[in-house]
């Protein structure tokens, strides 16, 4: 199992003052640049520390959000390319349906790969529905646009030789010529996020690493679909390193310390989903069939991360949302959840959430890296052998 330190670079000091939505429509006076300056540098320091602790690095981006000040994951990764030594650098991801210029995306990716000495991992994502308010890109035919941008980026990064031209439905370029080419040949490893089986199958066909976020009970059917499709396409079982999972991870030496940290982290679960209703699912973002079904059933998506009201520590771990405890407890929670999903190969650890301070974040990361990660690595090695044997 590989471990990836993740932080949303939140503007949490403002949370108390914000009523209603925490994104899209939230007044930008809540984002004090002086406070943001300190926070950005703090979060960047935490990634540098993560590198030294043996974590890899995972960054995201959102826009107009008090929960995530990272307006460009590639800007953050560019800093990491220079300031870290060993960590793999994952953007998960670049919202290519929101970018008007995938050529520029390819150039920036290649530049990061070369500066970092070939440590880049590329996640290209559809982006959250509410991001379309800011990017102004259309929700209609978003997946058609996604796949054209994806295909373009792949070709732009892998093409060697004289320039090529591209005259697609959404993007047109007369002279594509990416300088530099990526250091990793033929191209850096690719990731895609998924939550439902149909996307999972598509990712399996491509053989990319598939990540899923806070997906809980939806994870097993997703992983199963991937495994099934991967075997059909590639004629061999998918190894455990194809499967990534994101959850919050909080570690402490004893229950008192864990409870203290949990109290600071839990507001994330309330603040993060506060999306303006009009932007939670604009027409076109999901299929007509899915939208019609949702209207008819009255269900408009997962509420409260799929957790019961007032979830216990155990509920949150069983639901795959928040793993918390002493190192022993964390090992049990994560390995058990991984067993239920059919094997997790990459644990994407949201190690800073809510009001957790720098010292507490570094402490939870250190405890996890030293006392949980080695055991989970061994667990995943065994699990992978089981999976391969079972499939063969």
């Amino acid at each position: 199992m590989e471990f990836w330190h993740f932080s949303e670079q939140s503007m949490h000091p403002a949370w108390d003052s914000i009523q209603g939505p925490t994104k899209v429509l939230v007044d930008n006076r809540f984002c004090d640049p002086e406070v943001a300056h300190k926070l950005y540098n703090r979060y960047l320091d935490e990634w540098v520390i993560a590198d030294k602790l043996g974590y890899n690095i995972f960054v995201n981006e959102h826009h107009a959000s008090a929960n995530c000040m990272s307006a460009s994951c590639l800007l953050t990764l560019a800093i990491m390319a220079r300031q870290t030594k060993n960590a793999r650098l994952l953007c998960l991801g670049v919202p290519i349906t929101n970018r008007t210029d995938p050529y520029r995306v390819a150039e920036e990716l290649a530049m990061i790969d070369v500066i970092s000495g070939g440590r880049l991992e590329i996640g290209l994502v559809k982006a959250s529905p509410f991001e379309l308010a800011m990017s102004n890109q259309s929700p209609a035919r978003i997946m058609d646009r996604y796949w054209e941008a994806h295909d373009f980026v792949v070709k732009a990064l892998t093409h060697k030789g004289l320039p090529f031209s591209w005259e697609g439905e959404f993007y047109q370029y007369r002279n594509v010529n990416v300088w530099p080419r990526p250091m990793q040949q033929p191209m850096p490893p690719m990731w895609i996020t998924a939550s439902g089986a149909s996307t999972g199958r598509k990712v399996a066909q491509l053989g990319y690493t598939m990540a899923t976020f806070f997906n809980g009970a939806g994870t097993k059917p997703l992983y199963d679909a991937y495994k099934d499709e991967y075997f059909k396409t590639h004629g061999k079982p998918a190894s455990i390193d194809r499967f990534a999972y994101l959850a919050i991870v909080v570690c402490g030496r004893n229950d008192a310390e864990v409870q203290e940290r949990l109290k600071k982290v839990k507001p994330y679960l309330e603040v993060q989903p506060r999306t303006p209703k009009a932007w939670s699912n604009p027409p076109g973002y999901e299929s007509v069939e899915l939208n019609a079904g949702a209207l008819k059933s009255g269900k408009t998506g997962r509420i409260n991360f799929g957790l019961p009201l007032n979830p216990t520590q155990q509920d949150m771990a069983d639901g795959g949302i928040l793993f918390s405890g002493t190192p022993d407890q964390l090992y049990d929670q994560i390995s058990r959840f991984s067993d239920r999903c059919g094997g997790i190969g990459h644990m994407l650890c949201l190690s800073q959430a809510g009001y957790l301070s720098h010292e507490e974040t570094v402490d939870t990361m250190t405890l996890f890296a030293e006392q949980v990660a080695p055991r989970l690595r061994e667990y995943a090695r065994q699990k992978n052998m089981e999976l391969i044997q079972a499939a063969e």
Binding site: G284, A292, L295
Partner: protein, 272 residues
């Protein structure tokens, strides 16, 4: 406006569309609003007493197909040019509501050889104000719950017209029509939001009389916008109906039909 399918189908240039053809007399092409059109439309019912109304669901709306190459309003305009030729419509009256009004205006700028008169009801499609002033409410940034207040004058009447927005108790077919209409409207109107930056400079090409008819309580596009729209035509006139919102033609169908009939009955250019 989205509950029931239309009885007839036609294939125009390989695209199958559903439509309603009703009444006798001079042909009248009715271009529906963004939320769609169905069999129970009261304005079409009223107009069909005096005219032969041809009312299709636009490609992508209702049960009409959306071929992959139709992605913008110009594609819809070319589709309607083909439809007019295919059905050999002449001396045609074109009536468009809201999004359909935009299409009607675009259609007329392509040439009015077959068009006798044009009626735009609470139409969108044109940009008048500067870059930091929105003329048209961003309806894509609103929730379903806001539809009655935003699109109608009278909430209670609106809820009757909209079946109480009680999707749980509607047929899946009706709910699918509703969801599909929303997606297609967004496909055609997302950005620039429900207008074509070039349309205003093309309206001079419309040489026939144009009635711009407005709900006095339109909260999507104001009556001021309607007046500017009318003034942009060579022979444009403006009228408004009280106690009517953006979809006021559903709230006051008889009043709207009355104004339209009066305009259509007047001599060709005297009306302007």
């Amino acid at each position: 406006m989205f509950m029931s399918p239309l009885p007839e189908t036609r294939v125009i240039d390989g695209t199958t569309v559903e439509l309603l053809i009703k009444g006798e007399g001079q042909p009248l092409l009715f271009l529906h609003a963004g939320h769609g059109f169905d069999l129970d439309d009261p304005l079409v019912e009223a107009l069909s007493k005096s005219y032969r109304v041809i009312a299709p669901s636009h490609p992508g709306f209702g049960a009409s197909e959306l071929p992959r190459h139709i992605t913008g309003t110009d594609d819809l305009v070319y589709f309607y040019l083909d439809l007019i030729e295919e059905l050999d419509l002449r001396d045609l009256i074109v009536v468009g509501v809201s999004f359909g009004g935009w299409l009607a205006a675009e259609l007329a700028t392509r040439g009015t050889g077959r068009i006798a008169k044009l009626v735009l009801i609470d139409a969108v499609g044109v940009k008048f104000s500067g870059r930091e002033t929105r003329d048209i409410t961003d309806i894509f940034a609103t929730t379903l719950e806001e539809i009655p207040t935003l699109f109608f004058h009278d909430d209670a009447k609106a809820m009757q017209i909209l079946g109480g927005l009680d999707f749980k108790n509607m047929s899946l077919a009706s709910v699918t029509r509703f969801a599909r209409n929303r997606e297609s409207l967004l496909l055609f109107g997302w950005s620039p939001t429900l207008y074509n930056p070039k349309l205003l400079s093309r309206l001079h090409r419309v040489h026939v009389p144009v009635l711009v008819l407005w709900g006095a309580d339109d909260k999507v596009v104001s009556t001021e916008y309607g007046k500017k729209y009318a003034a942009a035509f060579e022979h444009g006139s403006f009228a408004q109906i009280p106690e009517a919102g953006h979809y006021g033609y559903l709230e006051q169908p008889e009043a709207f039909a009355g104004k339209i009939t009066e305009f259509l009955a007047a001599d060709a250019l005297v009306a302007a």
